[in-house]
């Protein structure tokens, strides 16, 4: 039984004695791993195995590690042999003895100095030199110490004052606190616990110390810095002291004073620094630049992926904004205050517009109203400070508001109503204008709401409605306001269609419309699209029936203008402005000019078209056609034309002399003045003179537009061909001598622009193609992470597969090792048992033997006695 290991050990011994080469050459030691197939260029490590060698290696290793552990099992203490060089086989026994002796002597010598308190040795407390501590320069440390002394951890007290039981308490504590841990580490001995405790407390102490040191360092630094700025603050502190605390505590320590001062100073809340006007301007400029860049990008028609810029979020400091955004901003910030603030402002603005008369009286009035409003809104009065703040804010904003108003007023045509009338109206309206409005549910509601108010008040009503129904106030408000946009659009259309178009009201409502549009771009776009589609559809139907259509009515024209104001016209493709442009084009190609009104409407459309393309400089052939046709209407002699007119104009026939002056003398009394928009529908031209004046105005508009077009399209390669008809018409057919000076000037400018344009161009060539890269012949190197099956294509997956494989291999290996370990242990145990048994057998045998001899001797003795 016990033979096998012995044999093996014998074999090991034999093997050990042999050289490596000898083993490798021994065919009985070598195991050749058969290869299934050869792989060229691969070096194989494991083609030859030496199972005997590796097994003996493994066994030896186990003997050194596992067996030792096994032997030490269940032994709490162990004997450590610290004898010098006891296990060192290299040192000769004599040397060992000598060295041990020397060491012994040394130790004895040291022991002698144990009570010798020499200066050479430094005494420490808590790891710090006691000598240094004696200097007592560390103030903080001292008072901190007392603090710390009180702070005994529960652990410490429990362990220190736990009573004699010691072990019992400790065990209790561990069982209480570390229930789960206990389960796992039941074997933790008392000694280990105590060790742990000590370790912990030491660590804590160390940490505390480090903290303290850091705090001290910081305090020192602060002190120094304080000293450096102390001088600067002297003046201010003195003053503050005087006002704040007259002579309450005359003997305040300077330091205390400073500390308190500092404390008070800290009360001021940190805020963003005020921006200088330059900074504000810069910011504004940057924002605009960004938006402009955006616009350019859209104009080129790249696919944009940025989200639309929302202009709603602005910093509270931004004072230079347009007032709408400003309002919006304030509303979102603090609606309670903001709401009535805004309304106040608006009224103020109205009053500003009226003039500055009776300001004091009005102020009183407004104060009174303020009170009323507060009651209405049921506002809680906050602290007086706040109110003051609000007031100052209000004032500053009012100022800016007023400025803006003034600015706007400059460009505005004068009001038809006289000042007194206006004022009377406004005051009457003011008396009855409520401050909250329910959002109109239908178009009729809106009409009822706005009916009978002055334009300014209409705007006010819409603005208030919009504020009262801000989406942040209630759930359904968003939808309501979206609908409001549609209603407003309809209302504007109706205003434009009235017998005397109320365009001032349209003008006033525009900012509100813009604000709504900014809030709900999708809904606004949908509403405008609907309006445009309707207009275009009706026109298309007429074209289908009759082949032509009347010019769009004023409401359509206003809608087109609104579209340009609300949406960018320069985009390469825009869901609203592109159809709008198409509508303009349709009107310009399909609506024949039959009267002066038609001509005016056509020119208005041309103006719009020029505005649409003024930024993007896009080519609009219909515009040029129409302008040429309009000028053709002014040509007196229509024979032998050097140009062709394009439908809807005809070379000759009815209505083709529409702009020919009836009396050449009438241009003397003509003066250019802007046409009213209503001229597209009805013209009150009583006399021939009036009619001629209107013709001249149309002609001047026409020429001006041609001039603008010339400048706009200057870069087009076919500029000369595009403007050839206009050029020949103006130069040969239109008699300019009979026209007023201003028109002759325009004429000259156009001719200059046309003649100065380059007529020569390079021949067209295709864009250069990018060179096609040559075929690469170097092999593509693919990293092979593991051979064999290739699952997964991405790098991550392959990596994962590889790791899995590795894990599996390792797992198997570990399992094998563990099995081997347990086998080894079992063998050892068996060995042990066998040895024990053998010993016992031997002993029993011995006993039996001795007993047998005894018996034998005794028998022999008996025999002898018998004999």
């Amino acid at each position: 039984m016990g033979k096998a290991p012995k044999k093996r050990s014998l074999a090991d011994k034999v093997r050990k004695t042999k050289t490596n080469a000898a083993i490798k050459n021994n065919p009985f030691e070598v195991k050749i791993n058969r290869k299934k197939f050869e792989v060229l260029g691969r070096k194989t490590k494991h083609d030859v195995g030496l199972p005997g060698v590796s097994r003996s290696k493994a066994i030896n290793k186990r003997k050194e590690t596992l067996l030792k552990e096994y032997k030490q099992k269940n032994k709490a203490s162990k004997f450590v042999d610290r004898r010098l060089g006891e296990y060192d086989a290299k040192i000769a026994p004599e040397d060992k003895i000598l060295q041990r002796f020397a060491l012994e002597r040394q130790r004895i010598h040291e022991k002698k100095d144990m009570y010798n308190l020499n200066e050479e040795e430094e005494l420490t407390h808590y790891g710090q030199s006691l000598a240094e501590m004696e200097k007592f320069n560390d103030m903080v440390n001292s008072d901190d110490e007392s603090e710390e002394k009180g702070l005994l951890s529960a652990e410490l007290t429990a362990s220190h004052f736990g009573g004699g039981g010691g072990g019992g308490l400790l065990r209790k504590k561990t069982s209480g606190e570390q229930q789960q841990e206990d389960g796992n580490q039941r074997a933790k001995s008392r000694q280990e616990l105590i060790e742990e405790l000590i370790h912990k407390s030491k660590q804590e102490k160390r940490e505390r110390q480090v903290q303290k040191e850091e705090a001290q360092e910081l305090t020192e630094k602060l002190d120094q810095e304080w000293k450096s700025i102390q001088a600067l603050m002297v003046k201010k502190t003195a003053k503050a002291e005087h006002t704040d605390k007259p002579e309450e505590k005359p003997k305040l320590d300077e330091y205390d004073m400073m500390v308190r001062e500092l404390g008070f100073e800290m009360k001021a809340q940190p805020s963003e620094k005020m921006k200088t006007p330059e900074e504000l301007a810069k910011e504004e400029k940057e924002k605009l630049q960004k938006l402009e860049a955006d616009r350019l990008r859209r104009m080129i028609g790249e696919e944009e992926e940025t989200k639309a810029q929302s202009q709603t979020c602005m910093s509270a400091d931004d004072l230079n904004d347009g007032f709408i955004l400003d309002k919006h901003d304030r509303k979102t910030l603090a609606y309670q205050d903001g709401k009535w603030n805004i309304e106040e402002e608006e009224r103020e603005a109205v009053e500003d517009e009226e003039g500055e008369t009776g300001e004091s009286g009005e102020e009183q009035e407004s104060d009174k109203e303020e009170g009323e409003e507060e009651e209405e809104e049921e506002e809680e009065e906050a602290s007086s400070e706040e109110e003051e703040d609000g007031q100052s804010d209000l004032e500053s904003e009012q100022e800016s508001e007023a400025e803006e108003k003034n600015l706007r007023d400059e460009g505005k045509p004068k009001k038809t109503l006289s000042k007194e009338e206006m004022k009377a109206h406004q005051q009457a309206a003011k008396a009855e204008l409520p401050y909250t409005f329910a959002a109109p549910e239908s178009y009729e509601d809106l009409k009822d709401l706005l009916c009978g108010h002055t334009p300014e008040n209409q705007r006010l009503i819409v603005a208030r409605t919009q504020k009262c129904n801000h989406p942040s106030l209630a759930v359904g408000n968003k939808l309501k306001l979206q609908k409001l946009f549609g209603f407003l659009l309809e209302y504007i259309g109706e205003l434009a269609l009235r017998t005397s178009p109320e365009l001032t009201a349209v003008d006033k409502l525009l900012p509100e419309l813009y604000a709504l549009c900014q809030m709900f771009p999708e809904a606004a776009a949908a509403a405008v699209q609907l309006v445009l589609a309707d207009a275009a559809h009706s026109m298309e139907e007429q074209i289908e029936v009759r082949g032509h259509a009347p010019f769009p009515t004023l409401d359509s024209l206003i809608y087109l203008k609104l579209t340009a104001l609300l949406f960018p016209t320069s985009d390469f493709r825009h869901p609203v402005t592109t159809p709008a442009l198409l509508y303009i084009s349709l009107a310009l190609t399909k609506c024949p000019v039959r009267s002066l009104q038609d001509a005016t409407a056509g020119l208005l459309l041309c103006c719009l078209a020029v505005e649409y393309v003024s930024f993007s400089k896009r080519f609009l052939p219909e515009l040029i056609n129409f302008l040429t046709g309009s000028l053709h209407l002014a040509v007196r002699d229509k024979t032998s034309l050097g140009y062709t007119v394009v439908p809807p104009f005809r070379p000759a026939g009815k209505c083709s002399d529409l702009l020919v002056l009836s009396d050449p003398e009438s241009c003397r009394s003509w003066r250019k003045k802007p046409l009213p928009l209503s001229a597209t529908r009805c013209l009150e031209l009583k006399s021939d003179l009036d009619r001629d004046h209107h013709r001249l105005t149309c002609l001047s508009v026409c020429l001006d537009l041609v001039k603008r077009c010339c400048l706009l399209y200057n870069d087009l390669p076919s500029f000369s061909h595009v403007f050839q008809p206009v050029g020949s018409l103006l130069s040969k057919h239109l008699s300019i001598q009979t026209l007023p000076e201003a028109l002759q000037e325009l004429h000259r400018e156009i001719m200059d622009a046309i003649s100065s344009a380059p007529t020569t161009h390079r021949h067209l060539v295709f864009n250069k193609k990018k060179p096609i890269p040559l075929k690469l012949l170097t092999p593509k190197i693919v990293e092979v992470l593991d051979y064999g099956k290739k699952r997964g294509c991405t790098r991550e997956e392959r990596e994962k597969e590889r790791l899995k494989h590795k894990y599996k291999k390792e797992f198997k290996g570990a399992l094998r090792e563990i099995r081997k370990d347990s086998r080894f242990l079992a063998r050892e145990k068996l060995n042990e048992v066998m040895n024990r048994d053998a010993e016992r057998k031997r002993k029993v045998k011995e006993l039996f033997g001795s007993l047998a001899t005894q018996e034998g001797e005794w028998k022999a003795l008996k025999k002898r006695k018998r004999k």
């Binding site: 505005k412 365009l503 776009a525 104001l565 869901p575």
Partner: protein
């Protein structure tokens, strides 16, 4: 008779109830007449009311007449053969039966005359019922001929009535379009159509001769409407729907043969086209010429004169004549000198604006699809179209740009128009001569299509994109322009309007709108104001 007359007068003057009563009355009269010959004289009451002023009365009277005479025709109670004069017959010694028949025959003729007059009545209802009644009479006469059969080779078709109806339909003073469309349903019958065609030919010839070829817009319009509402069968086997019931040998009957139909059709049209036409009718005619007239003529080549004349007219009429010419050239071997030169000269800015744009480009595409065209010609067409594109609306541009590209694809040598790299690098003036009428002399090949370069800046994104294609070599595949031909501006708009909005929100104008007239370069504010100053 007298009392009944009085009754009629009364009924006319009283309210509607009475007129209803009158109607019942008429029914009663008709019943009575049909019942026994004793009441035959009551027929005058009916004829009286036929001529009344009131529309309602007339219509009911027409109905009554219709019923009365169709029944009489069925019963053969009308005189057959040549109708003797009434007075003679009545005084003569024929039997009472015959006398009665002769009397009814005369009343029948009177009734027909009145009805023919009514065809030009102001009220459509009257016209319509009169027409229906007359056609019913015709049908009745076909079955129970009033003429002696052995004399007639036409299976006794009532040509008289048809001729009269046609002459009245094509009135010189009133526009009978509606009535003619009503008449169309009778034209479904093949023999009716045949006789209508020959009747038309006769009447047109007569009327136009009388007027010495001057324009009669209303008359010609009526004739044209009637003629264009004739839809010809394309095969002999389709000739089945006859008013005359055929018995015996239908082969001898002229109205039963497609060739005869075709000949009649051809003669009718040629007879009509001989005379000068108003220009809008020219257009209408040319629009339908190629598919509803030319295929049904026995010798379409006879139209050459008319078509060449129309092609010379110029403008939209020439465009339309193209279609007919194409059919003749393509299917009937017509050789037309200088066809392409003329086509080239047809290219004017107006081609993009006329109604027939789609048709023109479709044909132009066909004409220019040949790969055997000389290079100079294709280049000239290309360049001219490009030049015209400078004045075209976006829908036209969306046609013409692919059109030009297709031309260049078919004739790869034309690529020099887009790509002329080697020539010395100095800029040149456009050598193309727009005013040159001969495509061979216009120097188009020396030019480049700068116009398309210009259109790259067009305001409509689709056009701009299409124009961008010249930046790179064109693809091999031709584009199909057929679906672009009918595109209208509104449809183009809808493309943008109906496009589902992607979630990306719509870009907005960031410059705050403060005033209506402001913005966009202030062009509007410069010339217009909100309210006039006065």
């Amino acid at each position: 008779m007298a009392p009944s007359k009085k009754r009629n007068v009364n009924s006319r003057n009283t309210s509607e109830n009475v007129s209803k009563a009158a109607k019942l009355d008429l029914e009663g009269i008709v019943d009575r007449i049909l019942e026994s010959r004793k009441h035959a004289n009551d027929i005058f009451d009916v004829l009286e009311s036929l001529q009344s002023e009131k529309e309602r009365d007339v219509v009911s009277a027409v109905d009554a007449c219709c019923r009365l005479f169709s029944t009489l025709l069925e019963r053969k109670e009308l005189f057959v053969g040549k109708l003797p004069a009434e007075d003679e017959a009545l005084s003569g010694e024929s039997s009472a039966e015959d006398k009665c028949r002769i009397f009814m025959g005369h009343r029948y003729n009177a009734c027909v005359e009145i009805l023919l007059e009514h065809l030009n009545h102001e009220q459509f209802a009257v016209k319509e019922s009169a027409l229906c009644c007359l056609m019913k009479f015709a049908a009745g006469q076909v079955q129970h001929p009033l003429e002696d059969l052995e004399w007639s080779e036409h299976h006794s078709f009532p040509r008289g009535i048809i001729l009269a109806v046609v002459e009245n339909l094509t009135s010189k003073t009133t526009d009978n379009t509606l009535l003619i469309s009503r008449f169309q349903e009778f034209l479904e019958m093949d023999d009716v159509r045949y006789y209508v065609m020959s009747a038309l030919r006769e009447s047109v010839g007569k009327v136009m001769e009388k007027n010495k070829g001057t324009l009669l817009p209303v008359y010609q319009n009526n004739v044209f409407t009637l003629m264009s509402s004739i839809s010809m069968p394309s095969q002999q086997s389709e000739l089945t729907n006859f008013m005359v019931k055929l018995e015996g040998k239908p082969e001898d009957w002229r109205a039963a043969k497609l060739n005869n139909h075709k000949r009649a059709f051809e003669k009718m049209w040629l007879g009509f086209l001989k005379y000068k036409l108003p220009s809008n009718m020219y257009k209408k005619l040319l629009v339908i010429l190629h598919d509803s007239i030319l295929p049904h003529m026995s010798k379409p080549a006879l139209m050459i004169d008319f078509l060449t004349a129309a092609y010379e007219v110029g403008g939209a009429i020439s465009l339309l004549a193209l279609n007919g010419l194409f059919v003749l050239i393509h299917q009937h071997n017509l050789d037309y000198p200088d066809f392409y030169k003329k086509l080239y000269n047809l290219l004017e800015p107006t081609v993009f604006h006329v109604k027939y744009r789609a048709r023109f480009f479709h044909l132009a595409n066909l004409f220019l699809s040949s790969s055997h065209l000389p290079l100079y010609l294709v280049a000239a067409f290309t360049k001219r179209l490009a030049r015209l594109a400078l004045t075209a609306p976006p829908t036209g541009l969306l046609i013409v740009l692919p059109f030009i590209y297709n031309l260049i694809r078919r004739h790869p040598s034309c690529r020099v128009l887009l790509h002329k790299p080697s020539t010395e690098d100095e800029p040149v003036e456009d050598p193309y001569l727009m005013d040159e009428e001969d495509p061979a002399q216009c120097r188009a090949l020396e030019s480049s299509l700068w116009e398309i370069k210009t259109l790259q800046k067009h305001y409509h994104p689709d056009v701009a994109k299409a124009a961008m294609m010249i930046n790179t070599p064109l693809s091999e595949q031709e584009e199909d322009i057929s679906e672009l031909l009918e595109l209208t501006t509104y449809e183009l708009m809808e493309r943008d309007l109906k496009k589902p909005q992607d979630k990306k929100s719509i870009p907005l104008e960031f410059e705050t709108a403060t005033q209506l007239l402001k913005g966009g370069g202030d062009v509007l504010a410069h010339h217009f104001c909100l309210v006039s100053d006065e």
